[in-house]
């Protein structure tokens, strides 16, 4: 301070004292019983800062606790998790093993099934062709799991024996033994025996995936039969004309060329017909036998893992709800904050104006 000490001294010396009358009044006020002034709860105000200091950790603790309790409660049913995992692995296994021709032809009727627990013959029968007189191409892909490498060998041998018993034959066979044994066998069996084949092969182990496709071939066969008849009748007509003696040399040459083409057509139609009928006679079954190690089966999660998994799910949902509430409330909070700030600035400005007088 640069002001003279005299001024400061004078200001301090002139320090005002409250008049006696005022002092008496204040003393009287201070001696009033409290109950006459207000109720005990009157004037109580919620301590916002302290409340937030308690409320925020309490809300976090509540969220964690509820997630923990719900996670613990939901972890009681491991089947749910196991089933999900099984369904996922079934889809993963079934998709790449679908038969290549599935769905290509117009009459195709692919019916992929992932019935991991369909092990009975009755269930297998539902997968087999049902039409009695129609020609159909039936294909199946099976993956079964056996306990170890020795069981893989036994299952492969059983599959080969079953194929022969049913009048079929082996297209290819590959058996690998060792720590992660596996076998891959492709067999063809008569269509009327496919139900028995699927049932028998399914019984070799625990079914991991199963995929049966049925493609109708009757329309194609009927078309080739009609084509053959037409070509044969055309051949008969051309042959009859060639036997006529009135033909000149040019016409005869043309008819002979046409006859040659018609015979080639007939040959092609007969071959196609033969192929289609062969497909309809024999079904192809691809069997894969694996051990749990080779299949890469995941051990069912422990209770702690399931609890943590479920708790994290609950926490994620709580986070989503909190975020949603934040998004909804944020505009209101911003408006309220702006109003509060504006009011505060206005009051400050007003105070300065009042005290400037």
């Amino acid at each position: 301070m640069t002001s003279s000490p005299d001024l400061i001294h004078e200001l301090r010396a002139a320090r005002p004292s409250a008049p006696a009358e005022l002092r008496t009044r204040i003393r009287a006020l201070a001696t009033e019983p409290e109950r006459t002034v207000r109720a005990p709860w009157a004037g109580w105000r919620f301590p916002v800062r302290r409340g937030l200091l308690v409320a925020v950790p309490a809300a976090a603790a509540l969220a964690l606790a509820s997630a923990g309790v719900l996670g613990l409660a939901r972890s009681d049913s491991p089947q749910a998790v196991g089933r999900d995992a099984a369904e996922k692995s079934t889809l993963q296994m079934a998709t790449p093993q679908r038969m290549p021709n599935a769905g290509v032809n117009g009459g195709a009727n692919p019916s992929p099934l992932g019935a991991a627990d369909a092990t009975t013959a009755d269930q297998a029968r539902t997968l087999a062709p049902t039409a009695d007189n129609r020609a159909q191409k039936v294909g199946a892909t099976l993956t079964v799991e056996v306990k170890d490498s020795d069981a893989v060998s036994r299952a492969a041998q059983s599959a080969l024996d079953l194929t022969r018993t049913l009048g079929g034959f082996v297209v290819s066979s590959s058996v690998a033994t060792g720590d992660e044994g596996s076998a891959s066998i492709t067999v063809r069996v008569p269509v009327d025996k496919v139900q028995d084949a699927i049932a028998g092969l399914s019984g070799l182990g625990r079914i991991v995936s199963q995929n049966v496709t049925i493609e109708d071939r009757q329309e194609s066969i009927d078309a080739f039969v009609r084509r053959s008849r037409s070509v044969r009748s055309q051949i008969a007509l051309v042959t009859a004309r060639l036997e006529s003696e009135t033909l000149n040399a040019d016409t005869r040459a043309l008819l002979e060329a046409r006859l040659k083409n018609l015979k080639l057509d007939l040959l092609g139609a007969r071959r196609s017909l033969g192929t289609l009928r062969a497909e309809a006679r024999m079904s192809t079954i691809q069997l894969t036998v694996v051990t749990p190690e080779a299949f890469g089966a995941v051990a069912p999660p422990s209770r702690i893992d399931r609890t943590i998994d479920e708790a994290l799910n609950v926490l994620a949902w709580e986070g989503v709800v909190a975020l949603g509430m934040l998004i909804v409330l944020a505009p209101f909070a911003l408006v309220a904050g702006a109003v509060w700030l504006g009011r505060r600035l206005y009051r400050r400005h007003e105070e300065e104006r009042l005290l400037a007088a």
Partner: protein, 176 residues
């Protein structure tokens, strides 16, 4: 004469009666400087202590001294009076000078005529900072917190007020 406390409080908290007894002069002096009218200062002091008495339960010694708490209430009370007074003046201006109230300001006893007149020339804000820093001897930080401004602003305002006051006093001396 002893004054009983209105209610038992924490062991470290003085009784309201003791606080009132000790700080009555401070509150009155502050309000007198702010309003430059002893009658108004008396009324506002009464209002301040009534409000403080009602709020005494909420007083937290951990957040400040009783003097700072009481002065904050006094300031709020005074600002309310300033607002009401401004409204009254505007109303009177609209109605006309005939109904104008006699509101001659006076500091009352204890002030020399020169000091009183010099103080009259200061703004309320300047008198306020003089009262707090010089008369009541609050430190800069406490004053800044009470006024809601920075410590630097307090120093600047005080320096300006004292300079102005000294100049006025010097003018009086020259005239005398």
């Amino acid at each position: 004469m002893t004054i009983d406390a209105p209610r038992p409080h924490a062991a470290t908290t003085p009784s309201f009666a003791a606080v009132a007894e000790e700080l009555l002069d401070d509150v009155y002096g502050y309000l007198l400087y702010l309003t430059k009218n002893w009658a108004v200062a008396e009324d506002l002091t009464g209002e301040t202590f009534e409000a403080a008495f009602k709020k005494w339960r909420r007083f937290d010694p951990g957040r400040g001294t009783p003097r700072a708490w009481l002065l904050a209430i006094a300031r709020s009370t005074a600002l309310d009076w300033f607002r009401a007074d401004a409204r009254r003046r505007r109303r009177e201006e609209r109605v006309g000078s005939a109904e104008r109230r006699d509101d001659t300001d006076t500091f009352g006893e204890g002030f020399s005529a020169e000091l009183a007149e010099s103080l009259q020339s200061l703004s309320a804000g300047e008198r306020e900072v003089v009262a707090l820093r010089i008369v009541l001897d609050l430190d800069g930080e406490e004053t800044a917190r009470l006024l809601g401004i920075s410590v630097t602003a307090v120093s600047t305002r005080l320096s300006r007020a004292l300079s102005k006051l000294e100049e006025r006093m010097r003018d009086h001396d020259v005239v005398a």
